[in-house]
Protein backbone atom coordinates (compact mmCIF):
# COMPACT_ATOMS: atom_id res chain seq x y z
CA UNK A 1 0.00 0.00 0.00
CA UNK A 2 1.93 2.95 1.29
CA UNK A 3 5.34 2.80 -0.25
CA UNK A 4 6.38 6.40 0.14
CA UNK A 5 9.66 6.79 1.96
CA UNK A 6 8.18 9.39 4.29
CA UNK A 7 5.81 6.96 5.99
CA UNK A 8 7.03 6.03 9.43
CA UNK A 9 6.08 3.40 11.91
CA UNK A 10 3.85 4.36 14.84
CA UNK A 11 3.44 0.90 16.34
CA UNK A 12 5.64 -2.11 15.76
CA UNK A 13 5.27 -5.40 17.58
CA UNK A 14 7.18 -8.57 16.89
CA UNK A 15 6.42 -11.87 18.55
CA UNK A 16 4.15 -10.40 21.22
CA UNK A 17 3.23 -13.09 23.72
CA UNK A 18 1.17 -13.05 26.89
CA UNK A 19 -0.37 -15.70 29.07
CA UNK A 20 -2.29 -15.64 32.32
CA UNK A 21 -1.42 -18.58 34.53
CA UNK A 22 -1.31 -21.39 31.99
CA UNK A 23 -3.79 -19.82 29.61
CA UNK A 24 -2.15 -18.49 26.47
CA UNK A 25 -3.80 -15.21 25.49
CA UNK A 26 -1.47 -13.85 22.81
CA UNK A 27 0.57 -16.34 20.87
CA UNK A 28 3.27 -14.41 19.04
CA UNK A 29 1.61 -11.44 17.38
CA UNK A 30 3.30 -9.20 14.81
CA UNK A 31 1.86 -5.76 14.17
CA UNK A 32 2.99 -2.90 12.03
CA UNK A 33 1.06 0.36 12.02
CA UNK A 34 2.08 3.26 9.82
CA UNK A 35 1.98 6.77 11.23
CA UNK A 36 -1.22 8.63 10.42
CA UNK A 37 -3.21 5.52 9.55
CA UNK A 38 -6.10 3.69 11.17
CA UNK A 39 -5.38 0.12 12.11
CA UNK A 40 -8.21 -2.12 13.23
CA UNK A 41 -7.74 -5.24 15.30
CA UNK A 42 -10.83 -7.26 14.65
CA UNK A 43 -11.90 -10.31 16.54
CA UNK A 44 -14.49 -11.95 18.73
CA UNK A 45 -14.69 -11.62 22.51
CA UNK A 46 -11.78 -13.34 24.18
CA UNK A 47 -9.57 -13.17 21.08
CA UNK A 48 -7.02 -11.05 22.96
CA UNK A 49 -7.84 -7.59 21.59
CA UNK A 50 -8.02 -5.80 24.92
CA UNK A 51 -4.92 -7.56 26.21
CA UNK A 52 -3.05 -6.32 23.13
CA UNK A 53 -4.18 -2.74 23.76
CA UNK A 54 -3.31 -2.98 27.45
CA UNK A 55 0.19 -4.17 26.65
CA UNK A 56 0.85 -1.55 23.96
CA UNK A 57 -0.58 1.16 26.23
CA UNK A 58 1.80 0.14 29.08
CA UNK A 59 -0.97 -1.03 31.39
CA UNK A 60 0.36 -4.57 31.61
CA UNK A 61 3.65 -6.10 30.57
CA UNK A 62 4.20 -8.64 27.82
CA UNK A 63 5.77 -12.02 28.46
CA UNK A 64 7.80 -11.74 25.30
CA UNK A 65 8.26 -9.83 22.09
CA UNK A 66 9.78 -6.60 20.87
CA UNK A 67 7.40 -3.65 21.16
CA UNK A 68 7.82 -0.09 20.04
CA UNK A 69 5.18 2.62 20.22
CA UNK A 70 5.82 6.12 18.89
CA UNK A 71 9.48 5.24 18.57
CA UNK A 72 9.92 4.17 22.20
CA UNK A 73 10.50 0.73 23.64
CA UNK A 74 7.40 -0.19 25.63
CA UNK A 75 9.23 -2.31 28.18
CA UNK A 76 12.31 -0.13 28.64
CA UNK A 77 10.77 3.32 28.59
CA UNK A 78 7.05 3.16 29.39
CA UNK A 79 6.91 6.81 30.49
CA UNK A 80 8.13 7.99 27.08
CA UNK A 81 5.40 5.88 25.48
CA UNK A 82 2.84 7.33 27.90
CA UNK A 83 3.66 10.91 26.90
CA UNK A 84 2.90 10.05 23.27
CA UNK A 85 -0.25 7.99 23.59
CA UNK A 86 -3.89 8.41 24.53
CA UNK A 87 -6.12 5.53 25.52
CA UNK A 88 -9.88 5.26 25.52
CA UNK A 89 -10.77 1.92 26.98
CA UNK A 90 -13.78 -0.25 26.73
CA UNK A 91 -15.06 0.95 30.07
CA UNK A 92 -15.66 4.59 30.70
CA UNK A 93 -12.59 6.28 32.16
CA UNK A 94 -14.19 9.51 33.35
CA UNK A 95 -14.44 10.76 36.90
CA UNK A 96 -18.16 10.50 37.63
CA UNK A 97 -18.17 12.95 40.53
CA UNK A 98 -16.50 15.72 38.54
CA UNK A 99 -18.20 17.78 35.86
CA UNK A 100 -17.29 17.37 32.20
CA UNK A 101 -15.19 20.52 32.31
CA UNK A 102 -13.45 19.50 35.53
CA UNK A 103 -12.60 16.15 33.99
CA UNK A 104 -10.91 17.90 31.09
CA UNK A 105 -9.10 20.33 33.39
CA UNK A 106 -7.92 17.38 35.49
CA UNK A 107 -6.39 15.89 32.35
CA UNK A 108 -4.84 19.25 31.44
CA UNK A 109 -3.20 19.42 34.88
CA UNK A 110 -1.90 15.87 34.57
CA UNK A 111 -0.56 16.67 31.11
CA UNK A 112 1.26 19.54 32.83
CA UNK A 113 -0.25 22.22 30.63
CA UNK A 114 -0.19 25.67 32.12
CA UNK A 115 -3.44 27.03 33.49
CA UNK A 116 -4.43 29.24 30.57
CA UNK A 117 -3.51 26.63 28.00
CA UNK A 118 -5.45 23.98 29.96
CA UNK A 119 -8.58 26.14 30.05
CA UNK A 120 -8.30 26.91 26.36
CA UNK A 121 -7.85 23.25 25.47
CA UNK A 122 -10.80 22.21 27.66
CA UNK A 123 -13.08 24.83 26.09
CA UNK A 124 -11.99 23.80 22.61
CA UNK A 125 -12.71 20.12 23.25
CA UNK A 126 -16.05 20.79 24.94
CA UNK A 127 -17.05 22.72 21.85
CA UNK A 128 -15.72 20.17 19.39
CA UNK A 129 -17.43 17.27 21.14
CA UNK A 130 -20.72 19.10 21.56
CA UNK A 131 -20.53 19.07 25.36
CA UNK A 132 -20.74 22.80 26.05
CA UNK A 133 -24.25 22.61 27.51
CA UNK A 134 -23.29 19.72 29.77
CA UNK A 135 -19.91 21.15 30.74
CA UNK A 136 -20.88 22.03 34.29
CA UNK A 137 -22.92 18.92 35.00
CA UNK A 138 -21.37 15.94 36.80
CA UNK A 139 -20.34 13.17 34.39
CA UNK A 140 -22.54 10.71 36.27
CA UNK A 141 -25.58 12.40 34.70
CA UNK A 142 -24.29 11.93 31.13
CA UNK A 143 -25.83 9.58 28.58
CA UNK A 144 -23.76 6.74 27.12
CA UNK A 145 -22.90 8.68 23.98
CA UNK A 146 -21.97 11.85 25.89
CA UNK A 147 -19.85 9.87 28.29
CA UNK A 148 -17.98 8.22 25.43
CA UNK A 149 -17.40 11.62 23.83
CA UNK A 150 -16.10 13.06 27.11
CA UNK A 151 -13.90 10.01 27.49
CA UNK A 152 -12.36 10.56 24.07
CA UNK A 153 -12.06 14.30 24.66
CA UNK A 154 -10.08 13.55 27.85
CA UNK A 155 -7.79 11.31 25.85
CA UNK A 156 -7.14 14.16 23.40
CA UNK A 157 -6.27 16.87 25.94
CA UNK A 158 -2.55 16.15 25.66
CA UNK A 159 -2.64 15.93 21.85
CA UNK A 160 -1.42 12.33 21.68
CA UNK A 161 0.23 11.14 18.44
CA UNK A 162 -0.99 7.60 18.85
CA UNK A 163 -4.49 6.84 20.10
CA UNK A 164 -5.73 3.47 21.25
CA UNK A 165 -9.48 2.99 21.03
CA UNK A 166 -10.65 -0.24 22.60
CA UNK A 167 -14.11 -1.00 21.19
CA UNK A 168 -15.04 2.69 21.01
CA UNK A 169 -18.62 2.14 19.89
CA UNK A 170 -19.62 -1.00 21.78
CA UNK A 171 -22.97 -0.37 23.42
CA UNK A 172 -23.68 2.88 21.60
CA UNK A 173 -26.85 3.54 19.65
CA UNK A 174 -26.49 3.85 15.86
CA UNK A 175 -26.54 7.63 15.91
CA UNK A 176 -23.84 7.92 18.58
CA UNK A 177 -21.84 5.34 16.67
CA UNK A 178 -21.94 7.48 13.52
CA UNK A 179 -20.88 10.53 15.56
CA UNK A 180 -17.96 8.53 16.94
CA UNK A 181 -16.94 7.49 13.43
CA UNK A 182 -16.99 11.07 12.28
CA UNK A 183 -14.80 12.10 15.22
CA UNK A 184 -12.34 9.31 14.47
CA UNK A 185 -12.13 10.36 10.83
CA UNK A 186 -11.46 13.95 11.89
CA UNK A 187 -8.61 12.77 14.09
CA UNK A 188 -7.01 10.87 11.24
CA UNK A 189 -7.27 13.96 9.09
CA UNK A 190 -5.06 15.67 11.69
CA UNK A 191 -2.37 13.04 11.19
CA UNK A 192 -2.96 11.05 14.35
CA UNK A 193 -2.37 7.30 14.30
CA UNK A 194 -5.31 5.23 15.50
CA UNK A 195 -5.20 1.70 16.79
CA UNK A 196 -8.74 0.47 17.04
CA UNK A 197 -10.23 -2.75 18.29
CA UNK A 198 -13.70 -3.78 17.33
CA UNK A 199 -16.01 -6.73 17.04
CA UNK A 200 -17.90 -5.01 14.27
CA UNK A 201 -16.77 -5.90 10.79
CA UNK A 202 -18.67 -2.93 9.44
CA UNK A 203 -16.74 -0.58 11.71
CA UNK A 204 -13.36 -1.92 10.63
CA UNK A 205 -14.49 -1.72 7.02
CA UNK A 206 -15.65 1.89 7.46
CA UNK A 207 -12.67 3.27 9.32
CA UNK A 208 -9.54 1.23 8.93
CA UNK A 209 -6.75 1.49 6.39
CA UNK A 210 -5.53 -1.90 7.45
CA UNK A 211 -7.25 -4.67 9.34
CA UNK A 212 -5.82 -7.57 11.27
CA UNK A 213 -8.02 -10.48 12.21
CA UNK A 214 -7.24 -11.77 15.68
CA UNK A 215 -8.51 -15.15 16.66
CA UNK A 216 -7.52 -17.11 19.76
CA UNK A 217 -4.39 -15.06 20.28
CA UNK A 218 -3.11 -15.24 16.71
CA UNK A 219 -3.32 -12.91 13.74
CA UNK A 220 -5.03 -15.05 11.13
CA UNK A 221 -5.02 -12.45 8.35
CA UNK A 222 -3.92 -8.91 7.72
CA UNK A 223 -4.41 -6.43 4.93
CA UNK A 224 -6.72 -3.77 3.59
CA UNK A 225 -10.40 -4.50 3.62
CA UNK A 226 -10.26 -5.13 -0.14
CA UNK A 227 -7.27 -7.43 0.13
CA UNK A 228 -8.94 -9.48 2.80
CA UNK A 229 -12.16 -9.78 0.82
CA UNK A 230 -10.24 -10.92 -2.24
CA UNK A 231 -8.75 -13.76 -0.24
CA UNK A 232 -12.06 -15.54 0.12
CA UNK A 233 -14.29 -17.05 -2.51
CA UNK A 234 -17.45 -15.80 -0.84
CA UNK A 235 -18.92 -14.04 -3.89
CA UNK A 236 -21.94 -15.48 -5.62
CA UNK A 237 -24.99 -14.72 -7.68
CA UNK A 238 -28.42 -15.89 -6.58
CA UNK A 239 -31.26 -16.47 -9.04
CA UNK A 240 -34.84 -16.88 -7.92
CA UNK A 241 -37.31 -18.49 -10.26
CA UNK A 242 -41.06 -18.27 -10.53
CA UNK A 243 -41.67 -22.02 -10.86
CA UNK A 244 -39.88 -25.36 -10.24
CA UNK A 245 -39.66 -26.02 -13.98
CA UNK A 246 -37.46 -22.97 -14.61
CA UNK A 247 -35.33 -23.92 -11.62
CA UNK A 248 -34.95 -27.41 -13.04
CA UNK A 249 -33.77 -26.24 -16.46
CA UNK A 250 -31.41 -23.63 -15.00
CA UNK A 251 -29.92 -26.24 -12.66
CA UNK A 252 -29.29 -28.47 -15.67
CA UNK A 253 -27.49 -25.61 -17.32
CA UNK A 254 -25.30 -24.60 -14.38
CA UNK A 255 -24.08 -27.86 -12.91
CA UNK A 256 -21.93 -26.47 -10.06
CA UNK A 257 -24.77 -24.38 -8.64
CA UNK A 258 -26.22 -24.68 -5.17
CA UNK A 259 -29.89 -25.52 -5.46
CA UNK A 260 -32.71 -24.80 -3.01
CA UNK A 261 -35.98 -26.36 -4.15
CA UNK A 262 -38.23 -24.86 -1.49
CA UNK A 263 -37.04 -21.29 -2.06
CA UNK A 264 -36.77 -21.84 -5.81
CA UNK A 265 -33.26 -20.39 -5.77
CA UNK A 266 -29.99 -21.26 -7.39
CA UNK A 267 -26.67 -19.95 -6.06
CA UNK A 268 -23.75 -19.70 -8.44
CA UNK A 269 -20.19 -18.80 -7.49
CA UNK A 270 -18.99 -15.59 -9.04
CA UNK A 271 -16.26 -13.04 -8.44
CA UNK A 272 -18.86 -10.35 -9.10
CA UNK A 273 -17.07 -8.91 -12.15
CA UNK A 274 -19.16 -7.52 -14.98
CA UNK A 275 -17.76 -9.96 -17.53
CA UNK A 276 -18.52 -13.11 -15.54
CA UNK A 277 -21.98 -11.77 -14.74
CA UNK A 278 -22.69 -11.10 -18.39
CA UNK A 279 -21.63 -14.58 -19.51
CA UNK A 280 -23.76 -16.09 -16.77
CA UNK A 281 -26.81 -14.06 -17.75
CA UNK A 282 -26.26 -14.83 -21.41
CA UNK A 283 -26.39 -18.55 -20.73
CA UNK A 284 -29.66 -18.22 -18.82
CA UNK A 285 -31.12 -15.91 -21.43
CA UNK A 286 -30.08 -18.13 -24.35
CA UNK A 287 -32.05 -20.97 -22.77
CA UNK A 288 -35.05 -18.63 -22.41
CA UNK A 289 -35.42 -19.37 -18.71
CA UNK A 290 -37.51 -16.84 -16.83
CA UNK A 291 -35.81 -15.38 -13.76
CA UNK A 292 -37.92 -13.76 -11.04
CA UNK A 293 -35.11 -12.10 -9.14
CA UNK A 294 -31.35 -11.74 -9.28
CA UNK A 295 -28.99 -10.72 -6.50
CA UNK A 296 -25.22 -10.34 -6.47
CA UNK A 297 -23.35 -10.98 -3.24
CA UNK A 298 -19.77 -9.71 -3.01
CA UNK A 299 -17.75 -11.18 -0.14
CA UNK A 300 -17.77 -9.12 3.05
CA UNK A 301 -15.58 -9.40 6.11
CA UNK A 302 -18.03 -11.88 7.60
CA UNK A 303 -17.10 -14.28 4.82
CA UNK A 304 -13.43 -13.53 5.43
CA UNK A 305 -13.79 -14.28 9.08
CA UNK A 306 -15.65 -17.48 8.52
CA UNK A 307 -13.22 -18.64 5.87
CA UNK A 308 -10.09 -17.87 7.85
CA UNK A 309 -11.09 -18.96 11.33
CA UNK A 310 -13.47 -21.78 10.57
CA UNK A 311 -16.12 -20.19 12.72
CA UNK A 312 -18.52 -17.33 12.24
CA UNK A 313 -18.40 -13.95 13.90
CA UNK A 314 -21.50 -14.70 15.92
CA UNK A 315 -19.47 -15.55 18.92
CA UNK A 316 -20.09 -18.44 21.21
CA UNK A 317 -20.69 -17.46 24.79
CA UNK A 318 -17.56 -17.58 26.84
CA UNK A 319 -17.26 -17.86 30.59
CA UNK A 320 -16.44 -14.51 32.13
CA UNK A 321 -12.89 -14.41 33.42
Amino acid sequence: MTTTTTSRTAIAATGLRKSYDDQLVLDGIDLHVTEGSVFALLGPNGAGKTTTVHILATLISADGGDLRVAGHDVAADPDAVRTAIGVTGQFSAVDNLLTGEENLLLMADLQHLDRAEGRRRAAELLDHFDLVDAASKPAVTYSGGMRRRLDLAMTLVGRPRVIFLDEPTTGLDPRSRRTMWRIIRDLVADGVTIFLTTQYLEEADELADRIALLDQGRIVAEGTSEELKRRVPGGHVTFRFTDPRSLESAAGLLDDALRDDSALTLQVSSDGSLRSLKSLLDRIDDASIEVDELSVHTPDLDDVFLALTGHATEYEKEPVR
Partner: protein, 268 residues
Protein backbone atom coordinates in the same frame (compact mmCIF):
# COMPACT_ATOMS: atom_id res chain seq x y z
CA UNK B 1 12.34 13.12 31.71
CA UNK B 2 11.38 11.38 34.91
CA UNK B 3 7.86 11.57 36.22
CA UNK B 4 9.39 12.40 39.61
CA UNK B 5 9.85 15.93 38.31
CA UNK B 6 6.11 16.26 38.62
CA UNK B 7 5.71 14.53 42.00
CA UNK B 8 4.54 17.65 43.81
CA UNK B 9 2.41 19.01 40.98
CA UNK B 10 0.66 15.71 40.29
CA UNK B 11 0.06 15.13 43.99
CA UNK B 12 -1.56 18.57 44.29
CA UNK B 13 -3.75 17.82 41.29
CA UNK B 14 -4.88 14.54 42.84
CA UNK B 15 -5.44 16.24 46.20
CA UNK B 16 -7.74 18.77 44.54
CA UNK B 17 -9.60 15.90 42.90
CA UNK B 18 -10.11 14.16 46.23
CA UNK B 19 -11.20 17.29 48.06
CA UNK B 20 -13.82 17.83 45.35
CA UNK B 21 -14.95 14.25 45.83
CA UNK B 22 -15.31 14.83 49.57
CA UNK B 23 -17.50 17.84 48.97
CA UNK B 24 -19.68 16.14 46.34
CA UNK B 25 -19.96 12.83 48.13
CA UNK B 26 -20.00 13.82 51.80
CA UNK B 27 -21.16 10.44 53.18
CA UNK B 28 -17.65 9.43 54.23
CA UNK B 29 -17.04 12.85 55.79
CA UNK B 30 -20.24 12.61 57.86
CA UNK B 31 -19.20 9.17 59.02
CA UNK B 32 -15.68 10.33 59.91
CA UNK B 33 -17.02 13.25 61.96
CA UNK B 34 -20.08 11.47 63.34
CA UNK B 35 -18.51 8.32 64.77
CA UNK B 36 -16.19 9.98 67.32
CA UNK B 37 -18.85 12.52 68.32
CA UNK B 38 -21.39 9.77 68.95
CA UNK B 39 -18.85 7.77 70.97
CA UNK B 40 -17.88 10.84 72.96
CA UNK B 41 -21.49 11.54 73.93
CA UNK B 42 -22.14 7.87 74.60
CA UNK B 43 -19.14 7.45 76.88
CA UNK B 44 -19.60 10.72 78.72
CA UNK B 45 -23.34 10.52 79.31
CA UNK B 46 -24.18 6.81 79.27
CA UNK B 47 -21.07 5.29 80.85
CA UNK B 48 -19.26 8.34 82.18
CA UNK B 49 -20.72 8.31 85.72
CA UNK B 50 -19.75 4.74 86.47
CA UNK B 51 -16.47 4.76 84.60
CA UNK B 52 -15.53 8.05 86.23
CA UNK B 53 -16.09 6.52 89.69
CA UNK B 54 -13.79 3.66 88.68
CA UNK B 55 -10.95 6.02 87.84
CA UNK B 56 -10.36 6.72 91.56
CA UNK B 57 -8.88 3.35 92.41
CA UNK B 58 -6.81 3.09 89.30
CA UNK B 59 -3.64 4.59 90.66
CA UNK B 60 -4.09 7.69 88.56
CA UNK B 61 -3.77 11.15 89.94
CA UNK B 62 -7.48 11.39 90.56
CA UNK B 63 -8.84 11.10 94.10
CA UNK B 64 -12.50 10.37 93.46
CA UNK B 65 -13.74 10.17 89.93
CA UNK B 66 -17.01 11.42 88.52
CA UNK B 67 -18.43 12.22 85.12
CA UNK B 68 -16.40 15.42 84.70
CA UNK B 69 -13.15 13.56 85.47
CA UNK B 70 -14.11 10.94 82.94
CA UNK B 71 -14.59 13.55 80.20
CA UNK B 72 -11.00 14.62 80.73
CA UNK B 73 -9.83 11.04 80.78
CA UNK B 74 -11.70 9.84 77.68
CA UNK B 75 -11.28 12.85 75.36
CA UNK B 76 -7.78 11.83 74.14
CA UNK B 77 -9.06 8.30 73.49
CA UNK B 78 -11.97 9.68 71.48
CA UNK B 79 -9.57 11.81 69.43
CA UNK B 80 -7.58 8.69 68.52
CA UNK B 81 -10.82 6.88 67.74
CA UNK B 82 -11.52 9.75 65.36
CA UNK B 83 -8.11 9.33 63.73
CA UNK B 84 -8.74 5.60 63.28
CA UNK B 85 -12.19 6.30 61.84
CA UNK B 86 -10.73 8.79 59.36
CA UNK B 87 -8.20 6.20 58.26
CA UNK B 88 -10.95 3.65 57.77
CA UNK B 89 -12.73 6.15 55.52
CA UNK B 90 -9.61 6.23 53.31
CA UNK B 91 -9.73 2.48 52.77
CA UNK B 92 -13.33 2.82 51.60
CA UNK B 93 -12.66 5.81 49.33
CA UNK B 94 -9.63 4.16 47.75
CA UNK B 95 -11.42 0.86 47.19
CA UNK B 96 -14.30 2.79 45.59
CA UNK B 97 -11.90 4.76 43.42
CA UNK B 98 -10.17 1.59 42.25
CA UNK B 99 -13.45 0.38 40.75
CA UNK B 100 -13.48 3.45 38.48
CA UNK B 101 -12.12 3.29 34.94
CA UNK B 102 -10.29 6.57 35.42
CA UNK B 103 -7.64 4.79 37.48
CA UNK B 104 -6.66 2.78 34.39
CA UNK B 105 -6.44 6.07 32.50
CA UNK B 106 -4.07 7.49 35.14
CA UNK B 107 -1.88 4.42 34.68
CA UNK B 108 -1.49 5.14 30.97
CA UNK B 109 -0.38 8.73 31.62
CA UNK B 110 3.13 9.96 32.27
CA UNK B 111 2.42 11.10 35.80
CA UNK B 112 4.02 10.46 39.18
CA UNK B 113 2.08 7.30 39.98
CA UNK B 114 2.03 7.48 43.77
CA UNK B 115 0.31 10.88 43.39
CA UNK B 116 -3.02 9.03 43.10
CA UNK B 117 -2.48 7.66 46.61
CA UNK B 118 -0.84 10.80 48.00
CA UNK B 119 -3.96 12.72 46.95
CA UNK B 120 -6.16 10.29 48.84
CA UNK B 121 -3.97 10.21 51.95
CA UNK B 122 -3.47 13.97 52.24
CA UNK B 123 -7.16 14.55 51.50
CA UNK B 124 -8.09 12.09 54.20
CA UNK B 125 -5.71 13.66 56.73
CA UNK B 126 -7.29 17.05 56.03
CA UNK B 127 -10.71 15.48 56.51
CA UNK B 128 -9.58 13.96 59.82
CA UNK B 129 -8.23 17.33 60.94
CA UNK B 130 -11.64 18.88 60.35
CA UNK B 131 -13.30 15.98 62.16
CA UNK B 132 -10.96 16.25 65.15
CA UNK B 133 -11.58 20.00 65.42
CA UNK B 134 -15.31 19.26 65.63
CA UNK B 135 -14.66 16.56 68.25
CA UNK B 136 -12.55 18.93 70.37
CA UNK B 137 -15.30 21.53 70.10
CA UNK B 138 -17.99 19.10 71.24
CA UNK B 139 -15.72 17.77 74.00
CA UNK B 140 -15.25 21.33 75.33
CA UNK B 141 -19.02 21.79 75.27
CA UNK B 142 -19.61 18.66 77.34
CA UNK B 143 -17.09 19.60 80.00
CA UNK B 144 -13.61 18.75 78.73
CA UNK B 145 -11.21 21.03 80.58
CA UNK B 146 -7.69 20.69 79.21
CA UNK B 147 -4.90 22.67 80.87
CA UNK B 148 -2.64 22.72 77.82
CA UNK B 149 -0.58 25.74 76.85
CA UNK B 150 -0.61 27.00 73.27
CA UNK B 151 2.59 25.09 72.61
CA UNK B 152 1.08 21.91 74.02
CA UNK B 153 -1.92 22.34 71.73
CA UNK B 154 0.42 22.65 68.77
CA UNK B 155 2.28 19.53 69.92
CA UNK B 156 -1.06 17.71 70.28
CA UNK B 157 -2.01 18.67 66.74
CA UNK B 158 1.38 17.43 65.53
CA UNK B 159 1.01 14.06 67.28
CA UNK B 160 -2.51 13.57 65.96
CA UNK B 161 -1.50 14.56 62.42
CA UNK B 162 1.49 12.24 62.53
CA UNK B 163 -0.77 9.41 63.68
CA UNK B 164 -3.33 10.23 61.01
CA UNK B 165 -0.67 10.13 58.28
CA UNK B 166 0.65 6.77 59.52
CA UNK B 167 -2.74 5.10 59.91
CA UNK B 168 -4.01 6.53 56.65
CA UNK B 169 -1.11 5.06 54.65
CA UNK B 170 -1.73 1.71 56.30
CA UNK B 171 -5.40 2.03 55.56
CA UNK B 172 -4.67 2.98 51.94
CA UNK B 173 -2.87 -0.34 51.59
CA UNK B 174 -5.82 -2.13 53.20
CA UNK B 175 -8.15 -0.42 50.73
CA UNK B 176 -5.98 -1.56 47.82
CA UNK B 177 -5.63 -5.12 49.02
CA UNK B 178 -9.41 -5.44 49.38
CA UNK B 179 -11.24 -7.17 46.59
CA UNK B 180 -14.40 -5.15 47.15
CA UNK B 181 -15.61 -1.94 48.75
CA UNK B 182 -17.38 -4.03 51.42
CA UNK B 183 -14.22 -5.76 52.53
CA UNK B 184 -12.39 -2.43 52.44
CA UNK B 185 -14.81 -1.12 55.04
CA UNK B 186 -14.32 -4.19 57.24
CA UNK B 187 -10.60 -4.73 56.97
CA UNK B 188 -9.51 -1.63 58.94
CA UNK B 189 -12.09 -2.38 61.69
CA UNK B 190 -9.38 -3.57 64.15
CA UNK B 191 -7.95 -0.03 63.99
CA UNK B 192 -11.22 1.23 65.47
CA UNK B 193 -11.03 -1.36 68.26
CA UNK B 194 -7.46 -0.64 69.30
CA UNK B 195 -8.22 2.56 71.27
CA UNK B 196 -10.65 0.44 73.35
CA UNK B 197 -8.04 -2.25 73.92
CA UNK B 198 -5.54 0.34 75.12
CA UNK B 199 -5.59 3.21 77.58
CA UNK B 200 -8.21 5.16 75.62
CA UNK B 201 -11.31 4.48 77.66
CA UNK B 202 -10.14 2.90 80.92
CA UNK B 203 -6.70 2.71 82.54
CA UNK B 204 -4.88 -0.46 81.50
CA UNK B 205 -4.29 -1.25 85.24
CA UNK B 206 -7.89 -2.33 85.46
CA UNK B 207 -7.54 -5.01 82.76
CA UNK B 208 -6.81 -8.73 83.21
CA UNK B 209 -3.13 -9.55 82.89
CA UNK B 210 -2.92 -10.82 79.30
CA UNK B 211 -5.08 -8.03 77.94
CA UNK B 212 -3.17 -5.53 80.00
CA UNK B 213 0.10 -6.71 78.48
CA UNK B 214 -1.37 -6.28 75.02
CA UNK B 215 -2.80 -2.87 75.89
CA UNK B 216 0.53 -1.65 77.21
CA UNK B 217 2.41 -2.75 74.13
CA UNK B 218 0.13 -1.76 71.28
CA UNK B 219 0.73 1.50 69.37
CA UNK B 220 -2.39 3.38 70.46
CA UNK B 221 -1.52 3.37 74.15
CA UNK B 222 1.69 5.47 73.95
CA UNK B 223 0.00 7.79 71.43
CA UNK B 224 -3.03 8.26 73.69
CA UNK B 225 -0.80 8.74 76.74
CA UNK B 226 1.19 11.39 74.88
CA UNK B 227 -1.93 13.29 73.85
CA UNK B 228 -3.40 12.92 77.34
CA UNK B 229 -0.19 14.22 78.90
CA UNK B 230 -0.05 17.20 76.55
CA UNK B 231 -3.71 18.14 77.07
CA UNK B 232 -4.32 17.33 80.74
CA UNK B 233 -0.85 17.24 82.26
CA UNK B 234 -0.57 13.52 83.10
CA UNK B 235 2.88 11.97 82.91
CA UNK B 236 4.17 11.34 79.39
CA UNK B 237 7.50 9.65 80.10
CA UNK B 238 8.73 7.45 77.29
CA UNK B 239 5.31 7.43 75.58
CA UNK B 240 6.22 10.28 73.24
CA UNK B 241 9.25 8.55 71.78
CA UNK B 242 7.33 5.27 71.48
CA UNK B 243 4.51 7.09 69.73
CA UNK B 244 6.89 8.62 67.18
CA UNK B 245 8.59 5.26 66.58
CA UNK B 246 5.28 3.49 66.02
CA UNK B 247 4.03 6.17 63.64
CA UNK B 248 7.22 6.22 61.57
CA UNK B 249 7.15 2.44 61.36
CA UNK B 250 3.46 2.20 60.45
CA UNK B 251 3.75 5.00 57.88
CA UNK B 252 6.76 3.37 56.22
CA UNK B 253 5.12 -0.06 56.04
CA UNK B 254 1.86 1.48 54.83
CA UNK B 255 3.53 3.60 52.13
CA UNK B 256 5.68 0.81 50.73
CA UNK B 257 2.85 -1.72 50.85
CA UNK B 258 0.31 0.68 49.29
CA UNK B 259 2.53 1.89 46.44
CA UNK B 260 3.55 -1.68 45.68
CA UNK B 261 -0.08 -2.77 45.55
CA UNK B 262 -0.95 0.18 43.34
CA UNK B 263 1.84 -0.58 40.87
CA UNK B 264 0.92 -4.22 40.55
CA UNK B 265 -0.71 -5.11 37.28
CA UNK B 266 -4.43 -5.57 37.32
CA UNK B 267 -6.38 -7.39 34.75
CA UNK B 268 -9.50 -5.32 34.48
Amino acid sequence: MSTRTYAARDSMTMLRRNLKHQLRYPTVTFFVIGIPVVFLLLFVYAFGGTLGAGLGGSGLDIPTGDRSDYVNYVAPGILLLGVAGGAQGTAISIAMDMTEGIIARFRTMAIFRPSVLVGHVVGSVIQSTVALSVVVGVALLVGFRPNATALEWVATAAVLTMTAVALTWLSAALGLVSKSVESASNLPMPLMLLPFLGSGFVPTDSMPEALRWFADHQPFTPIIETVRGLLTGTEIGSSAIQAVAWCVGIAAVGYVWATRLFNRERVS
